[in-house]
């Protein structure tokens, strides 16, 4: 039963030059941006003005509703352009890099001593708070929220994702310190999900509350949603947070040195590249800068995230660790009006239960029932079947496998938004 669960899933192939092993190359892009997650609405108050110089890690804006949460500069530099929408909604804050600038140092004495509220303040002030994602609904957690559990993902099964275990090599102590700190944010268990190999941490890392989860090799085993579905489903009353292990190690470094590491590991892959690369770059890096000189001639799309669940973008999105460079297709050919009328009248297209569909959801959920509830707009059944633990990325593989129209991930987002509105969350 267990081995069967470990084997469930599919590994779709994305054409790309191979990602050769070895150390990632440090690569600062000259421009970077502070930006919201995909479809995230952040109302901000600016702290700096256009043209002003900022230190790396210094706040450039604060949330209107929660001024304690800062959006920080990913690198020392100068604010080039502030782009806010109506209601001071953040679109992007573009910065130019200043190679000689300094990084902001935080006072970590109280947080390092195990003071929970000081730790929260540190996380929120250093920008690391934004790396948490709360389920259900997949938003950044509110400043005072207490999760029922936290999942640390040291596994990633998305096609061509960088290996999290390689990122953590030599950072064992930082990871331990970070994990211990997470224990002050929740009363519940802290899960650490990794693939095979020696355990990264024992239960003692978080006062005996750490649980190790092993993920299988196939997608979607290495996604937080599927691990949580098995081990700790989220509900509105008991939200569960997830965070990448590299960010937890960064938290450990921050607590030790007072400096938040500015770089994270990102894989640059895709069919429109002559050479794949593993880089270490700053948050919100300029994607064109990351793949400069690597692309093959011809039009291409820059996708922040994996080829399955990424979005076309200019900047690296806050939680993404992948840049996929896809060959650009000039949209679908326009087709005959009659054909278009037929295909549009039949939406949502019916789902045929196949083995592929079942594997796309990891083989554990009653996949067809869940997807039928989703396309029928039956939010209650969706919640009963565990849909509150899932986010868009968890259904990206099902979208790929079925070619569903409208996208199942979009339907899930709609359902989650409806449930959130109903619950007043």
């Amino acid at each position: 039963m267990l081995s069967q669960l470990m084997q469930a899933g599919l590994n779709p192939t994305v054409r790309s030059a191979p990602l050769t092993g070895g150390e990632p190359v440090e690569h600062w892009t000259e421009e970077a941006a502070v930006l919201p997650q995909h479809r995230e609405h952040l109302r901000v108050d600016m702290v700096v003005r256009e043209g002003e110089a900022v230190a790396g890690g210094a706040p450039v804006a604060r949330l209107r509703d929660h001024p304690e949460i800062a959006l920080v500069a990913p690198m020392p530099g100068r604010v080039a352009k502030v782009h806010l929408g109506p209601g001071r909604q953040l679109h992007e804050i573009v910065l130019f890099r200043d190679a000689g600038g300094d990084m902001r140092r935080h006072d970590t004495q109280a947080a390092g001593a195990g003071d929970g509220s000081a730790l929260r303040t540190l996380l929120q002030d250093s920008g690391l708070w934004r790396q948490f994602r709360a389920r259900p609904f997949g938003r950044m957690p509110a400043p005072g929220a207490v999760p029922a559990a936290i999942l640390v993902m040291a596994a990633d099964s998305r096609p061509l994702a960088p290996n999290p275990l390689a990122m953590l090599e030599g950072r064992g102590e930082d990871l331990m310190r970070g994990l211990a700190a997470l224990g002050h944010l929740t009363e519940g268990p802290v899960y650490l999900c990794q693939r095979r190999g020696p355990a990264l941490a024992g239960p003692g890392a978080v006062e005996g509350r750490l649980r190790l989860l092993r993920s299988g090799p196939r997608h979607p085993q290495g996604l937080a949603g599927h691990q949580l579905h098995h081990h700790h489903p989220a509900s509105v009353e008991a939200p569960v947070w997830d965070i990448h292990a590299e960010d937890v190690a960064d938290l450990g470094t921050l607590l030790e040195t007072g400096l938040r590491p500015a770089l994270r590991t990102v894989s640059v892959t895709g069919p429109a590249l002559s050479e794949a690369r593993l880089l270490r770059c700053q948050d919100g890096a300029h994607l064109a800068g990351l793949c400069h000189g690597l692309t093959v001639p011809g039009p291409h799309d820059l996708v922040s995230g994996s080829a399955l669940d990424g979005h076309r973008a200019v900047w690296l999105a806050p939680r993404d660790r992948q840049l996929s460079v896809m060959t650009h297709h000039h949209g679908a050919p326009r087709g005959h009006w009659f054909r278009n009328a037929l295909s549009r009248a039949a939406r949502p297209v019916p789902l045929i239960p196949t083995a592929a569909l079942e594997q796309a959801l990891g083989g554990a959920l009653p996949a067809v029932a869940l997807l039928r509830a989703l396309s029928a707009g039956d939010d209650e059944t969706l919640a009963k079947l565990g849909g509150l633990t899932l986010l868009e990325e968890d259904l990206a593989l099902a979208d790929y496998v079925t070619g569903a129209e409208p996208r199942l991930s979009a339907l899930l987002r709609g359902a989650l938004d409806r449930i959130a509105a109903e619950e007043g969350a």
């Binding site: 779709p12 994305v14 029922a148 268990p189 081990h231 700790h232 489903p233 509900s235 009353e237 008991a238 799309d301 996708v303 080829a307 399955l308 669940d309 990424g310 979005h311 076309r312 996929s324 896809m326 009328a341 037929l342 295909s343 009248a345 039949a346 297209v349 019916p350 789902l351 045929i352 239960p353 196949t354 083995a355 592929a356 569909l357 009653p366 067809v368 029932a369 919640a383 009963k384 079947l385 509150l388 979208d399 790929y400 496998v401 079925t402 070619g403």
Partner: protein, 273 residues
């Protein structure tokens, strides 16, 4: 970003490809007469798909060919063209197209057609199959499982039912069952394993296969004068109608087990819905 190709038509084409060994063997042994029947059923089924495309903007589907094949193989003989056309029309329209086409239907349209013809014209003789056609259903099943369009669990459930029927009387087939088995096997592949009209959960699929097998055994031993195809069609119809409730039961079971397992793991159930 990336898109796959497993949409409805791909699955229908894969199913057709999987059924090819069966269809070709049947055509080989049936000769020109079988080919004529298949051409007629294909024509009528295609016509109704065309009408629904023009009237209701429903894209036509290759699944119509699946229905046509099953009807051509299993429909009673000597009906005459008019009755056969009426039967296929009823099954295709009322069984599939009024629900919005393949993928939204409740029962396999071929099963509905055959049940309609069987109950409507009980005097018409049911077809017989030579044994090689039943053998040809084995590669069909294998291909279907390999391509992922036929569920091995349904087949396994039905075989388990057959095994029990053989083992419980002490290693012998109950009277009357043996001559039904080849046709029941063909019906299993053609009618019961339709991915849309069968159960969609794993335990539900086992239950669906078991139920089909059990009904075959029941009808074969208890139904005096029932022709093999008649027994097969009746069992397929009832098993298909029971599929939603089997799924519902499987999901209720899954939720109960999951609730218990998670409660045991955390010893704190306050966060469970």
């Amino acid at each position: 970003m990336m898109r796959g190709i497993w949409d409805r038509e791909t699955v229908a084409l894969l199913l057709l490809a999987a059924l090819m060994p069966l269809a070709l063997a049947w055509l080989w042994y049936g000769g020109i007469e079988a080919a004529g029947r298949l051409a007629l059923t294909l024509l009528v089924s295609g016509l109704w798909h065309l009408i629904f495309m023009l009237a209701r903007a429903q894209p036509p589907s290759f699944a119509g060919a699946l229905t046509a094949l099953a009807v051509a193989m299993l429909a009673p003989e000597d009906l005459g063209i008019f009755r056969l056309v009426m039967g296929i029309s009823f099954g295709t329209v009322m069984g599939e197209l009024v629900f919005g086409g393949w993928g939204r239907n409740v029962v396999n349209p071929a099963t509905i057609t055959l049940a309609f013809l069987g109950f409507g014209f009980p005097a018409a003789p049911w077809p017989d199959f030579v044994l090689p056609v039943a053998w040809a259903a084995i590669p069909a099943a294998g291909l279907g499982i390999l391509l992922g369009v036929i569920s091995g669990r349904i087949i396994a459930g039905a075989l388990l039912a057959a095994l029990l029927a053989w083992a419980i009387p002490g290693g012998a087939w109950p009277a009357g069952l043996e001559k039904v088995l080849p046709v029941a096997w063909i019906g299993l592949i053609l009618l019961v394993c339709d991915p849309v009209a069968s159960a969609a959960t794993r335990p539900g699929r086992w239950g669906n296969g078991l139920l089909y097998g059990a009904l075959i055994v029941l009808f074969a031993t208890g139904w005096d004068g029932g022709a093999p195809v008649q027994i097969t069609v009746s069992a397929a119809l009832l098993a298909s109608l029971a599929a939603p409730i089997l799924d519902e039961a499987a999901i209720a079971l899954w939720r109960a087990r999951r609730h218990r397992a998670l409660a045991r793991k955390t010893e704190d159930t306050s966060w469970l819905t």
